[in-house]
């Protein structure tokens, strides 16, 4: 197992290097000199010469790539052009929101998608099955941003003044402030240290932060603000998970051992959940891992609709503002995260299916 994990980790290295090369190349392929692209009208030859020396653009391309790799490995993603702040700090501020949003969306997708798929498979061709599959087909065909806008209209306008009313955007109601848990607990921390940023990262997940500090009012409000964007973001993964669960279950339910289990007189629930579902889980888990990519990409759209200052929104803003260090860094982080999560999915096979021995 350990050996397999190490080998799998080593195999991920070329992919990560590939990702770094692609993002590096994309940033260098921008038409015109980087100096002119970044400084615009202020780019006179003298300014450009200084700019190139400062950012290392005067060095050979291989050296530039080496420096780029060295910086990234030491956690330095450079300075944002628009904000004049280190990109790493911006990541610490923005990533927690997206992680929180993505996790909730994925949880919604899993907790509805899997049961829906199981029931669909067990009651095949029933009205429930037809209904679920129509729903799943519509779900994968729906533009996330359109659904987001329609949800806003539904919950903020049509259901206004009912108990179902939800705020159309933002993370917290005006007047509410999330105080970081380390401040509440009175920890004395020196700012700008690694440890401080580490804690800051976790406290920026408002739901997590309010949960561990026991601030229920804040928790309720943060969850309420997350419901709509998470719902919009979860539709496509939900539909895909439901479809995969259904077809995987149908495949397993045909097997001889299911008939054996039934003929032993086991209850339907036990046959379905213990004998069938455990064996049908593998493809479902694989597809869940792949949905993380859909969620990251969907976050670009969802966050910009719901006014959430996460990774997706800043990435989009950086693209319109041509803030290349941010584009580069965030793309690398998201792609590496995607690779990492699918690596964990691969490793989880051993626990899901004990027959698989990773050697």
């Amino acid at each position: 197992m350990i050996q397999y994990t190490i080998r799998r980790l080593l195999m991920a290295i070329p992919v990560i290097i590939g990702i770094l090369i692609v993002t590096f190349a994309l940033a260098r392929m921008i038409p015109g000199e980087p100096c002119k692209a970044m400084l615009g009208e202020k780019a006179t030859p003298e300014v450009c010469a200084r700019f190139n020396v400062r950012y290392g653009f005067d060095k050979p391309i291989t050296t530039q790539f080496g420096i780029y790799m060295r910086d990234i490995l030491s956690g330095d993603f450079g300075q944002s052009i628009r904000f004049s702040r280190p990109v790493t700090i911006i990541l610490i501020e923005r990533l927690p929101l997206t992680m929180e949003l993505g996790t909730i969306a994925l949880l919604i997708a899993i907790s509805i998608g899997i049961p829906a798929g199981i029931i669909s498979a067990v009651k095949r061709n029933s009205i429930w099955d037809v209904f679920t599959m129509i729903g799943a087909n519509i779900g994968v065909s729906m533009p996330v941003y359109w659904l987001g806008l329609m949800l806003q209209f539904l919950f903020a306008i049509l259901l206004k003044d009912t108990f179902l009313q939800l705020a159309p955007s933002g993370r917290l109601a005006p007047g509410l402030v999330a105080i970081p848990f380390y401040e509440i607990w009175g920890w004395e921390l020196a700012k700008e240290t690694v440890g401080y940023h580490f804690l800051e990262f976790f406290s920026n997940m408002y739901i997590f932060n309010s949960l561990i500090t026991g601030d229920w009012k804040l928790l309720g409000d943060a969850v309420k603000h997350m419901i709509m964007p998470a719902m919009a973001l979860s539709t496509i993964p939900l539909a895909i998970i439901a479809r995969m669960t259904r077809s995987s279950m149908l495949e397993v339910m045909k097997q001889d051992y299911i008939r054996t289990a039934r003929s032993k007189g086991l209850k339907q629930n036990k046959v379905v959940l213990k004998h069938a579902f455990r064996n049908a889980l593998l493809p479902v888990v694989t597809i869940i891992g792949l949905q993380v990519g859909t969620i990251f990409a969907g976050a670009v759209l969802t966050e910009s609709i719901f006014g959430l200052a996460g990774v997706g929104r800043i990435l989009f803003e950086a693209i319109t503002a041509r803030d290349y260090p941010i584009i580069q860094a965030f793309t690398v982080v998201i792609a590496a995260g995607y690779v990492f999560i699918n690596l964990i999915v691969d490793l989880s096979y051993v626990f899901i299916d004990p027959r698989i021995r990773l050697e």
Binding site: I19, Y145, I157, I305
Partner: protein, 313 residues
């Protein structure tokens, strides 16, 4: 040896049982696929006869043409009680005082064009890469597949967004970006088919008869790799339309005043609370188009691969 010829009767028999006919018969037996084909037919008719169906030109500004017309006016449908003396606007008026219905109808042309061109381009490049990779194997295979692995490591829409940000916004660049990010999918499908087909006895026979590699690849292997490609391609058209609309929504794809559904949604997104019809209809149009390709693709898969069909339906 005299060539063996089939009698007419035999030929007819043979043809009626050909893969395509069998497939078509199987597709027609599936409700989902038929529904997909019906929606798609409607869309195709809408796209071909857009000029006839749409009461106005898509970019026609109606100020001065109609009295008292206001921007973002809600729909006026005579059948639903809108006074007969007012001109009919099935989907209302958009922010630039244009007939929304005409724009949505004309949008079908652009979306279908987007779907077919991106997938067509991706299939051509993907097939070339996949075929070379699968057929020749060795280091060529390794190099091509590792590069494609890297492309697949990115969430596709995100990579497309990054590519467009480098190429600059515009419909053409958006299409190119979407095609590039989907190439690996087709390359993998073709490679997998080629790997299994090249071990078939008829390929060995062709080789024994002295056929060269290129001949065998083009005439024996690739034609047999087409069915799975059609399924993936059909499903891919839906995704391509969805992604292109997303890029346009973000302002990176088609630019106004082009009647592209994603662009229309994007430019009226802030008006969702005051003029929801301007957001509602383009979204429904995107959804129906993508849905039709997804239903058809699922049906095709079940029809072409009966083994899968048993589990899927």
């Amino acid at each position: 040896m005299a060539p063996v010829t089939l009698s007419n009767e035999h030929q007819k028999d043979y043809r009626s049982n050909s893969l395509w006919r069998l497939t078509l018969r199987r597709i027609l037996r599936q409700r989902n696929a038929v529904l997909g084909m019906v929606i798609l037919s409607f869309l195709l008719i809408m796209a071909v006869f857009a000029d006839v169906i749409a009461p106005y030109a898509p970019e026609q500004v109606l100020i001065g043409l109609e009295e008292g017309i206001k921007k973002r006016q809600p729909p006026c449908i005579h059948l639903l009680g809108c006074p007969k003396d007012k001109p009919q606007h099935l989907m209302g008026i958009d922010g630039n005082v244009r007939d929304q219905f005409s724009r949505v109808v004309h949008g079908s042309r652009i979306s279908l064009m987007i779907g077919f061109t991106t997938v067509g381009f991706a299939i051509i490049i993907g097939t070339i890469l996949g075929a070379i990779s699968g057929f020749f194997g060795g280091w060529v295979d390794n190099v091509i597949m590792r590069i494609l692995d890297v492309l697949m490591a990115f969430p596709s829409l995100l990579l497309a967004i990054t590519i467009v940000s480098v190429l600059g916004p515009g419909l053409q660049n958006a299409l190119l970006a979407i095609a590039i990010v989907t190439i690996p999918v087709y390359a993998r499908v073709v490679r997998a088919s080629v790997l299994s087909i090249k071990e078939m006895p008829y390929v060995a026979a062709s080789r024994a008869l002295g056929g060269n590699s290129v001949h065998i690849l083009l005439n024996r292997v690739l034609p047999n790799a087409i069915p799975p490609l059609i399924v993936t391609g059909t499903l891919g058209i839906g995704t391509a339309i969805l992604d292109a609309a997303a890029l346009s929504f973000l302002g990176l794809g088609a630019q106004p005043p082009m009647p592209e559904w994603g662009t229309m949604l994007g430019s009226e997104r802030n008006q969702v609370f005051t003029a929801p019809h301007l957001v509602f209809y383009p979204g429904i149009a995107i959804m129906l188009t993508v849905l039709s390709f997804n239903l058809l693709g699922d049906g095709l898969r079940d029809a072409i691969d009966p083994r899968l069909g048993q589990t899927q339906n």
